[in-house]
Point group: C2
C-alpha cells in the first residue's frame, strides 16, 4: 500500500502536466498520470477528483477568496476601486500558489474547449461572488455586476501578462497596470 | 406529414418557453415541446439541434456580428471607443430579434447551471472575436483582450437592464448608460 507522501500531490501534478503537454490533454488517462508519478490510482483520487481537477485544484476557492478580500476593504472606498484593492490584495497569495506551473497550465487550458469552458465558469463564479459582496457594501444592483465583471477582466489580463514573464514583476503590479490601461482608454467623465 | 409552416419555429419556441417555465428546464423533453406546438419531433429537429438550442438559436452568430460591426467602425477611432460604437451599432438588430421572449429566456437560463455555462461560453466567444478584430485594427495584444472583455461586460449589463423593462428605452441607450456608469467609476487619468 502506498504510504502517505506529502509530495504526492506535487508529484502527480508535475506528472500530469508533463503528460498533457506530451500527448495532449484528451489522450492522457488518470492511470498514466499515477504511473508516471510512481503512485497508484487510489493515491491519485486522494488528491484529485479527476484529471481536469489537477489543473483547477485550488481555483474553486477563488470566488470566496476574492469576496473575502473585498469584505476587508475600507467601506468608505467606492465600489469599483474597492474591487481593484481586493484583487491586488490577494495577488501575492495567488502568485505564490500557482507560479510554478502557470505557463504550462495556461497552454494546456488553451488547447481544450472543455478546459476553457471550465475556466470561463470559474471566472464567472468569481464575478458573481464579487457582485454579491458589492451589493452587501451598498452598491446598487446594476453597477455591482458590471464592476465585478470588469474587475475580473482586469484580473485576468494582469494574470496573463504576469504568467508570460513572472520574473519581470509581481502579479499585483500587473493587475494595477491592466487597470491603468483601462482608465486610459475609457472616455473621461467630462465627455 | 407536417407541411412547411413559416411560423413553426416561433410556435416551437413559444411552446418550449411555456413548458420550461411550467416544469423546469431539466424536466421538459423535445417530444413534449413538439406536442404542445402541435408539431412532430421531426419538425422540431428541422429548426433546432436540441432543447437547449431553442434558447440559444441565433446567438451563435453574436461573435461574428460583433466583429463585423467593429470592422465597420472608422479606423481612426481608438480601440475601446470603437468597441462601444460596434456594440451600440448592432443593438437595434439584436433588440428586435430577441425582444419578445427575452425576460423569460433570462429567467430560464438563470435557473440552470448548464444553461448558464453555455451563456458564459457564448459571451467568452464574443469577447475573443472582438479581441481578434481589435488586433487586426492594430491594437496591441495586451489591450485587445482587456478592452474586448470589458466591452462585453458593458454589453451584458446594458442588455440585462434593457430586458428588465424593454418599454422604457432601447438597447443602445442601455449600453451607453452602462458605459457611462463605468466611466464614472474608473479612477481618472490624472490619478
Amino acid at each position: 500500500m502506498a504510504r502517505w507522501d506529502p509530495r504526492g500531490e506535487e508529484r502527480l501534478r508535475t506528472a500530469a502536466i508533463e503528460l498533457f503537454l506530451e500527448h495532449g490533454y484528451d489522450n492522457v488517462t488518470v492511470a498514466q498520470i499515477a504511473d508516471r508519478a510512481g503512485l497508484t490510482r487510489r493515491t491519485f483520487s486522494r488528491y484529485f477528483a479527476d484529471k481536469r481537477d489537477v489543473l483547477f485544484a485550488g481555483s474553486d476557492q477563488l470566488p470566496q477568496l476574492m469576496a473575502d478580500a473585498l469584505q476587508r476593504v475600507d467601506p468608505k472606498i467606492p465600489p469599483f476601486e474597492a474591487v481593484l484593492h481586493a484583487l491586488t490584495d490577494i495577488a501575492p497569495l495567488l502568485g505564490d500558489r500557482v507560479a510554478e506551473h502557470a505557463p504550462q497550465r495556461q497552454a494546456i487550458i488553451a488547447s481544450s474547449p472543455e478546459l476553457q469552458e471550465r475556466g470561463h465558469a470559474k471566472f464567472a463564479d468569481a464575478a458573481d461572488a464579487l457582485a454579491r459582496e458589492l451589493r452587501d457594501r451598498g452598491a446598487d444592483e446594476s453597477s455591482a455586476q458590471l464592476f465585478a465583471e470588469v474587475g475580473v477582466a482586469i484580473f485576468r489580463r494582469g494574470f496573463s501578462q504576469w504568467v508570460a514573464s513572472p520574473e519581470d514583476t509581481d502579479l499585483a503590479s500587473r493587475i494595477r497596470q491592466a487597470a491603468t490601461q483601462l482608465s486610459n482608454a475609457v472616455p473621461q467623465r467630462s465627455n
